[in-house]
Symmetry: D2
Subunit: 317 residues, 4 copies
């Protein structure tokens, strides 16, 4: 925790966790447990639940536009939520809301902000001085450029190279932060560190790297949260944002367990078969000759179908 | 209340109001008071707060991206909220969320839904049978077509005419609802009321008027709520939706009193002067000859300026 | 066409079709053909393309953030569009825009408007007098309430009943429109039709049914258009809005043929298998005993899987 | 232009400008002039119009939901547009759409992207290698931190200091870009420049500064464009993004001249007076004693009122 959040701030958080009050609103035991706690992510980042609205019952209540809690029987609620998820009736899931406080590298923030249906208040580098905190990947996650997937990373760098890359990233960020300090004149003057400039913060910050940490309040509804989690835990997502998504998956599971279960069954672990793939599966199930069954699919499509269904079709191709 | 909500539902609501639990989230005393209560609007409609997230402090907290509850001193919070409102820094106001259950005539719902940044789940006339409830205006609010403002209503109808209008609306709605019942076959059979048809609900409902009541769950953030309230309490708003807006104004004031005060001072009761109007005011304040000062404004613009500033310029025109 | 649009308006449309000009923008031959033409829908409605922006090449251009027209080779463009569609890279499809003029019954408009990511300007019943035009279903589409699917329609009504339903709908709408005319005082005075009231239009209109026609300008981007078409041509969509969607499908195919083809292969005709269904298909393909393979699926789920894959599993159940 | 765009790309752009076709859509002469042209901004950035939809007439057409081109008389159109702007009837302005290709520093992109109602496709640093282009401010715009406005910049740095700041920014960016090249292994090998790493691009890019250039396609409607321009040309906007906004202002004026004129009169050059300020102006105009008239306003509010109205109230304070 040390690297993620300072002592004074931990006291503020502790105070928030101590301030218990009564409410007539829906509460969720699992969320009260995690409220205000700091979940570390990467080397200095974190995710912290600041507030939430609604629960699984609120989804059901909205779907039924009913008067009471929306719950007749727990079993009915689960079934209705599964029905809604299965048939993409998404609006009832918009009735729950989550507010997070997140500390994250700027390059991660740039991917995250592309999810437009959300509210954001970010720490302002125009107004405030940024902390001396930047992301340096663990050597184990330093991959080479994937030769096939042009936007992915492949095999790990050899340890020696990885160590030197880490060194380079650390040195560059540290040196530029030192210059940033001189530009804004936050240092001790014209001593050993050289002259200082009182430059406007909004300009000085442009000398910082994309791996410096920023932080924000981020609020979104459950439907849009699930889309974020689906996209950012997918194989194509960059490792660093996926680390955040995985932590938020754990929080979401505590918050709305029925929704989470349905989301896994019908979205995360579901498979979409294209028109052509459906035809192939149909032919295979009908027992037609495998070689004929696969006609119309390219080699790449056959591999994707194998991956999707977890089967080996190579003997037929 | 009788005409607005049934007995069984009142019991469900009473149960919701009795279910108190502890939470680490921010709570607002004034909102806990109104939570789940039914505020009657028009002849059968209502507004009911189902849930809320955040308070004035949450606006401050987001603006500062702070760690604790966001409140240093009540006085600072108020000043910051006024600053945000004055300078149209709107994103921190998105950090609060309100969820309402509303019963409203369909023609009001059609205006309301134009506010797109909100989540809605509406009672489905495809799935369920609509109640025999329709809006009939009080005779006192029946105005003639405004001869100048083409989308407004002017002077009240004379009492006799108003009574006959009310009668006509009531009779037409009642008769068509009777037919609706026969179309869906909800009645007692082929007795006095005639044959019945078991027609699909999604078709039968097209025989209902725009003044029939529907209901929905509506959830939006504080920023978008204020825009709704600003637009729907403005002089040009239709009386019926303004009735809903006024009730929600009262709720908002209890929820976020500092925000509400700032909203009134800088938005509701503020005046926007156009480039030309600014020039006129400047000349008037500089003591230039009034006739010259008003040059460039049309008669209509002069009247609008008089109205905006609450002054009489007629002696100069 | 007669019932859909008046003569004076046809002349205006003809004028628009005659006004040809030169442009450096991307144009699409197929769209220029349909521009401003009136496609009839239902008994009085229509869809008319008013403007468009972009083509298949614009999707490619945005995906590549390229400088030129985005087209290297037609074959590459098609492949890239298929890749984008397959992997749900949706933002490039937002780069095309379509603007329609639509005349539609109010109950259809109420479903349509739920698609929030669009711009709408609707004919105002507060400002203008609504025409005497209402939707009366063709007897052939009058279905009874579906006994299983609570929001659908089932078998057709017998001809005699259907005729009487049509009569009832027609009579009610005509009678109420007559009253509407008296309320606004648009008629000839206090003659045979009775007294008139000069009631404000915004009030008089509440005496009209949900099947009266309104019209609007509707503008959305290609990505959101496809979601609209996917949802509104699905089996669960109400017949009437599906009629509009089908007409727009035809327009979209002319506009962006590669996108349309990919949309059909990967969305419209694709099948999503849940986690459980994937497991079943895997077991079936592996040749395991069918009875065991289907374990974990309910009877309903087995039927849905059969429907999705177009196979008969009943012998195993 | 040299620093902004390469020769091969200029040829692509020239080709786009040469490809003229006929259309039945609305065209705007002024926009055809600027279409595809590159407007330089800052040291390496640019704005380029890629496509547009609609004109002033399209705003009018949507407001009237009319059948033809929407234009009866130019004078009526102008008056209607001014009316819409004055009374904040914003939806007709959504009926026009603009698509830009923009090259801009990442810290500017981070402010820009906060405007959520827009479509964006950005050049991907995960997929492609970023160019060796970074923003270095002209010495004349290097201001010190504003002592009063905590997020602004104040007086210019003395020339000597400014030169040294520029040097520092340039040196840091160049050095880190050199390392970026080594990380991705784009250089000539393990010669003088040292070892290379084949690191995945998505990781290597985190060693770049916030002043490196990126580019994107950005598409938004006229209503949201005006909000962007209003906010980003306001006194509080950062100089660099304001440079882009000013170029787009010029384009917008060519595109929709009536809308632009109304926007200036009723938005850009308008003044919003708070409830208290209205009261003060009213008292001043009524000739009441100035000292009393200003009661209730703080010193700061008096200064803001003076600024807004361009008058000197100091003699009264």
């Amino acid at each position: 925790m040390k690297g993620h959040i300072g002592g004074a701030r931990l006291r503020e958080i502790a105070a928030a966790r101590a301030a218990r009050s009564g409410t007539l609103r829906v509460t969720v035991g699992g969320m009260e447990e995690v409220l205000h706690r700091v979940f570390p992510v990467l080397d200095h980042g974190f995710v912290r639940v600041v507030d939430y609205m609604g629960d699984d019952g609120a989804v059901v209540q909205a779907a039924r536009v009913s008067y009471g809690r929306g719950t007749r029987h727990t079993r009915d609620d689960r079934a209705l939520i599964r029905y809604l998820m299965r048939h993409a009736h998404t609006t009832p899931f918009e009735m729950c809301e989550l507010k997070l406080h997140v500390k994250l590298p700027i390059f991660v923030a740039r991917q995250w902000i592309r999810h437009r249906t959300a509210s954001v208040n970010e720490y302002s580098g125009r107004y405030s001085v940024l902390d001396r905190e930047f992301y340096v990947p663990d050597p184990s996650v330093l991959g080479v450029q994937d030769p096939r997937n042009r936007q992915g990373r492949g095999a790990a760098l050899p340890p020696g190279k990885a160590r030197r890359v880490v060194e380079m990233l650390r040195r560059d960020a540290a040196a530029c932060y030192g210059h940033y300090e001189r530009l804004i004149g936050a240092g001790a003057g014209t001593g050993a560190s050289g002259a200082e400039y009182q430059l406007a913060r909004e300009l000085a910050r442009i000398n910082l790297h994309l791996n410096f940490y920023t932080q924000w309040y981020w609020k979104t509804d459950l439907h849009n949260l699930l889309r974020f989690l689906e996209l950012r835990t997918a194989p194509g997502a960059q490792h660093e944002i996926a680390e955040y998504a995985r932590v938020i998956c754990g929080i979401t599971e505590k918050w709305v367990p029925f929704t989470w279960e349905a989301f896994r069954d019908y979205r995360l672990d579901a498979v979409r078969l294209s028109r052509l793939e459906v035809a192939v599966v149909r032919r295979l199930l009908a027992g037609s000759d495998p070689r004929e069954a696969l006609q119309g699919l390219s080699g790449r499509e056959i591999r994707e179908l194998e991956y999707a269904l977890g089967i080996d079709l190579s003997r037929f191709a």
